[in-house]
Symmetry: D2
Subunit: 449 residues, 4 copies
């Protein structure tokens, strides 16, 4: 057994406990063995790491990323067959930023599952990955649900790529009975090996529409629970949000996004009473909103409104639990050169850059009303609990996986401290940040990354 | 008082009563006064019409028409400001075909209301018109709900035309709370003077999507009922159909249309138990279906499938009440020359021609399993009852408006008899068929009409 | 036309307007014609009433009374055939106390309708009466829903009395389909001539049970609305309350009563958002509660708990609209001598005495958090609006019925002022209080009345 | 390993396969190893049992029994502390009758769990037992839900006995929010070790009332599924049945019982489409019904009606899956001497006798429309599948537990053959029928047993 002791730092462990100064964090292999102030507890054979002057927090998490960044038709075609390389690159970028766990909520199933397992087996270095695969009820990225009107690819290529995403649980389900959807979702969970389910409660590029009836939504949630995993819902309107809550969804993915209609008080009260986690667009800054409404495309103007910010403030004031997400991907020059994509790029506070945009979240959350300890938990233990994996990760407690960040400043005093990383530990091993990502694919020559 | 007696014909009165031969139908002003075999009942001052050898049936109805036929952007712009001329023309075409009453389920409100009232006051000759105005929840014809991707008009013109249709109860409602939708629908009903409400239970050009939650649908239906009118629902999937039934919709508009998913038995049983009228695409013939699946555009292939026909047969066998609709409009050379429109025109059994396609319905219904008397009632009294106006029209009974067709053959023996019109009586007055439509607008030089 | 002018008083008109001092209230026949400070507006032929030093408020209302006080089997049998005498007496007692309108929410239909109409025609002097008849879904007073285990009457008598209450819409409906309940309720409304519907959302003597499914409740509410009347729901648990709100009930009758389970925040938020009136047991004082839990019977202990009071405070703080009700009846020595009844009589703050207990409500409301103006409106205009009759009664405004109280003190300063009645005006006529009730029946020799 | 071969019989294996004559059933230890006609497959070391002239069917099951027969207050008190003796006796009686598995749907938890485990460990001989414990939402046998008005016990004893049944998931749950019920049910499942959940969708002695809202029912079902077990619902009205189906209940316990209101066609269609098992009162014979309506008590008259039989016929004709249940208990002289109990004893076709009444079911099912093979499966594999244990028991297939009946006659030809038991095999061991029950407790001197 390999033992390490991180000695002398201030531990903020991701629970509601007060910070523990001059602490000893004992790690055995890939797990935390003890958190104490008793230096006699350090075994003789432990490798000692001096953490004096550091703050030790749990490894960060991002509750909504898309590791395959090839969001445009051209790039999806160019990288077809090599999506796993993109996933590996992105997982490396995330880990370099201190994000030890990511939840990929939409992407090509096979590549994601493959890289998830390579990382878990230690063959590849990157963030731990949890995979949803397709958004149940929506088709692939080249379909009418996403880029349909701007797709320059030949139909056969587009159909092949879309099928790799849709995995048999795409928009065809909207035409089926509750029993048939139940059967298809059950089959998908069993066959695919996904870690959680994400379903569409409303449309993506048609955000005003609903997708599934209450009965169907309940069937989807039940099938996820029957398989012992969580089900989250994509939401864009006040009514889709309400339906999803009533259907028993475990996480409301961007549950703060309701166009220009404020969330009704009764819905906020229901969220608080059920203690439902909201993966929230807290990193949408006022400056980004100003750009959207001055120069952004219509769909962004419909989705990102001042009501989003007001919803966040009201949710926080009412005691709702907001968790960190960025909806982020790796970015690189090839992506930015694609005209379809570049029309959505803001000159300020760009919110969808994996490894960077989470700082916007951490630094904006205070302005929106979150206490510093809630910000920390919203980026760590609250995410783990939301996904039902809080027994494994999310806090620095005995028995948990040893995912740690050593920071040079106190993140409770100033959230910019999350940028001042002294060391990253994942599964008990110190990460060699400079070696990440191992191989640049999309981000080569990228001045932004 | 003006008295007429139609003497010697066989009356099939639109109820379940057996035909009455050698009958006397006594009409006083615009109402039926008596139906009898007693010739002594004929007042001395009555004008006698010899109906020997004729079959007298109630005036036909069409439960779903669109009197403004200008379905394409180009024509909508060309006729802007003159939609009332199109409505007048279409109402004349319908009446000439023996359709004494039409229910316009979508169109520009002001023109429809204006012509409805002109006809009611006797200023214009045409079918009696009942008006829904907009389909609640959908936007105008140039919006994303209909022709969005093919709209060549300038944005200001398109917005103006769309607003004339949407009337404040368009797709914006999909983003609102149940209470707000209720308020807006109430206001619409009060302000507009519509005769019934049609709402979207699912999308039009996006037929797989749902629109409103169960709570919102109930609010819409309740507001219609509170105002004493009926609410019908546009349906395209098995789940939208089920939701609409549970919401209390009074008529299922094309409730037989569920893509390629058969209506579940439980839903058919619910329809039968509640005695809900289905305005059904019975006039979609097998030949038309063959054309659609060989040459038709994708949206038609999605909506018009063999399941549609199977649904009809199962509904009829279970005892459901199917009513006649065509979704029809006047057709003319200008429409057919428009490439957007012509792509949807079938060379056989074209189903959407006002004044003609209803014969396809009457002549196909038997093949689908309807008894001749149910066909007759499905085109007359069952429609009137479905719309809650059965106390006024739909049968030949004392007190009802005198809307009669005199046919040269027995429609119960052969439905082609509905083409053999000897005379049309509307509101007690014999219609001068040759004078209709009074003015040709769209149909000028039309070889089809 | 008969004209009166009430001159010099301070008018608190039941709207949110500030009190108007030195006012002139002009009454023409039975209606208010004007409220002004302009003495020139007084017509020459008007009878002038000096109201100097008085406060003029709208006639009070009680949103929940039972005019037939014969609550025990023995008395129900004794007075059978003479219930109308009890109703007349009770309506007189209420009017003498300044309650110009009462809403009878459960009682024998025929007697109530008869007296309601006698009072409306001016043949009998008493409060204006609105009648619900039976509580839909519950049986009569001698059934298992009320006194079943303590009923000493012979079965035939009990069945006859129960049927006079149940009116075909009793507990048998709990066994039926939504469509059948709808049919039966519609028939009941049409036949009975009731002014509003009250239905059971949960049991009465079995308050933990639910009665109707969501579908049935909606059918009942829809039928009331279709007939242009309101539907209220009897509620006893948090879940029955939530169901009733979702079913669209117009008033929650004792919606503050949820046993020992506090109303969830989401339910309170829903009440506030829909602006739903709660007829609340505000007159249940802390002293009465102490008696119940020290000496009261089990059913009272289950229903009347400290949570009731806490619910009221939270509802008021959230902005909900509480309206006055007493659940009161006339009381008299015969009733008190009945051992079944006397076990429920508290020595302090007895809450169910018609004509008296409403003062407990008015005087306790402030302690529970209501502003004086909300107390006044909760006893007048808010009740009228809740019952959909706010265009006729509830405020002192032109066109409304002239129901006025002249008080000797300012009720906004001290609610005990409602006891200091100088004069009562109903339908424009000054009431001879000393003559009421016209005939004593139940209250003869009653020291409490 | 111990090997046996049952040779020469006709195997009806509980699937839809045709009977296999001259068969070899190979048993290894407690499992079926093979079913074949190849005698070469018999291992040399196998003990051979000659089954020539026998029919071999799966061990029977009863989907609804109550092993603690002490149904009256007096007996419940007398046997307190010794309920396990009653359970052991009853499990022996059932096994003697060929019922190798029973599902106890209501009883005192601790005694049932204890005996279930003793039997599973081989310490006690009796039917395999699956346990529900309490009916969620109802209180114990001495509460108002069952014998309240006839309970002669002192309050402390009654409360103790009731608590042993209610287990914290009694009628108090009816007063709680969905979230609280969910928490309590989850805690109950985790703590109690029950094999399945039964909840009340409606009352027991108050069968017209509903218990839980749709939201609560769904929470209960979800918690059962989350724990990997099934949830069944107690039903007594058409609406409770419909709610339970919509809530996702896995079995409708007496789903054929809807008082005097026939199950609507739509509900039957929903049952068939979801392939929901109905544990049905098929053993209620016409003769028993005649007795109930001539001499039975009111509650029996309300529940057992001719509609019950008509429901069964319609369900069977529509293709629903009916499974065998008796609601039975052991009977003995002590029980029959108790006047409370004896009032419910019919002189003919008594339906609630464990070990006997299942023959009424098997012999009546044909009259109600079931095919002989469906009768067999309704008493074996369909029950196992309904309870989610079809991978272990219910058919004679390789890998399944070896529960076999050897019959002297063909049960597909005449269901009375189920009475002609030649041998019973449970878990691979031949049962010594004459030794059962091991100890008589309640049935001592019982002339009926």
């Amino acid at each position: 057994m390999r033992r390490q002791a991180f000695v002398g730092g201030t531990v903020i462990d991701g629970t509601s406990r007060a910070p523990l100064s001059d602490a000893v964090v004992l790690v055995e292999d890939d797990r935390v063995a003890a958190v104490t102030t008793d230096r006699n507890a350090i075994p003789a054979d432990a490798a000692v790491v001096d953490a004096t002057g550091r703050w030790i927090v749990p490894g960060l998490m991002d509750a909504n990323v898309h590791l395959v960044a090839a969001k445009t038709p051209t790039l999806l075609a160019e990288f077809e067959g090599r999506y796993d390389e993109l996933v590996e690159e992105a997982a490396g970028i995330a880990l370099r930023a201190g994000i030890t766990t990511v939840f990929d909520t939409w992407g090509p199933l096979d590549a994601l599952i493959a890289v998830r397992d390579r990382i878990a087996r230690g063959e590849v270095v990157g963030s731990r990955v949890f995979v949803a695969g397709n958004i149940v009820g929506l088709d692939g990225p080249l379909s009418g649900d996403f880029w349909a009107n701007e797709n320059p690819l030949d139909p056969a290529t587009a159909a092949r790529i879309d099928a790799a995403y849709a995995q048999g649980v795409g928009s065809d389900l909207l035409r089926r009975t509750p029993d048939e959807v139940r059967r298809r979702v059950r089959e998908y969970i069993e066959r695919s090996g996904v870690d959680f389910i994400k379903y569409a409660g409303s449309g993506h590029d048609q955000p005003r529409f609903l997708t599934f009836t209450a009965e169907v939504q309940r069937a989807i949630v039940e099938e996820a629970h029957r398989a012992g995993i969580t089900a989250q819902a994509h939401t864009t309107t006040v009514e889709s949000l309400r339906m999803e809550i009533e259907a028993g969804a475990d996480i409301l993915q961007h549950g703060d996004m309701t166009g220009d209609e404020p969330i009704p008080d009764a819905t906020i009260a229901a969220i608080v009473e059920r203690d439902l986690p909201i993966a929230a667009f807290v990193h949408i800054t006022d400056r980004f909103l100003a750009w959207v409404h001055a120069e952004g495309p219509p769909l962004l103007r419909e989705l990102y409104t001042p009501v989003l910010v007001a919803n966040q403030r009201r949710l926080i004031a009412a005691g709702a639990r907001l968790i960190l997400m960025t909806d982020g991907s790796a970015r690189g020059p090839r992506l930015h050169r694609d005209p379809l994509y570049s029309s959505r790029v803001s000159p300020v506070d760009f919110p969808w850059q994996l490894g960077e945009s989470h700082h916007l979240w951490l630094e904006t959350a205070g302005e929106r009303g979150m206490a510093p300890m809630d910000v920390l938990r919203g980026a760590t233990s609250h995410i783990a609990d939301a996904y039902g994996v809080g027994a494994e990760i999310g806090t620095i407690e005995p028995g948990k996986r040893a995912d740690l960040l050593l920071l040079d400043a106190d993140p409770l005093a100033d959230p910019r401290a999350y940028r001042r990383i002294s060391a990253i530990v994942k599964d008990g091993a110190v990460v060699d940040r400079d070696a990440l990502p191992v191989r640049r694919v999309l981000t080569e020559e990228d001045p932004h990354a």
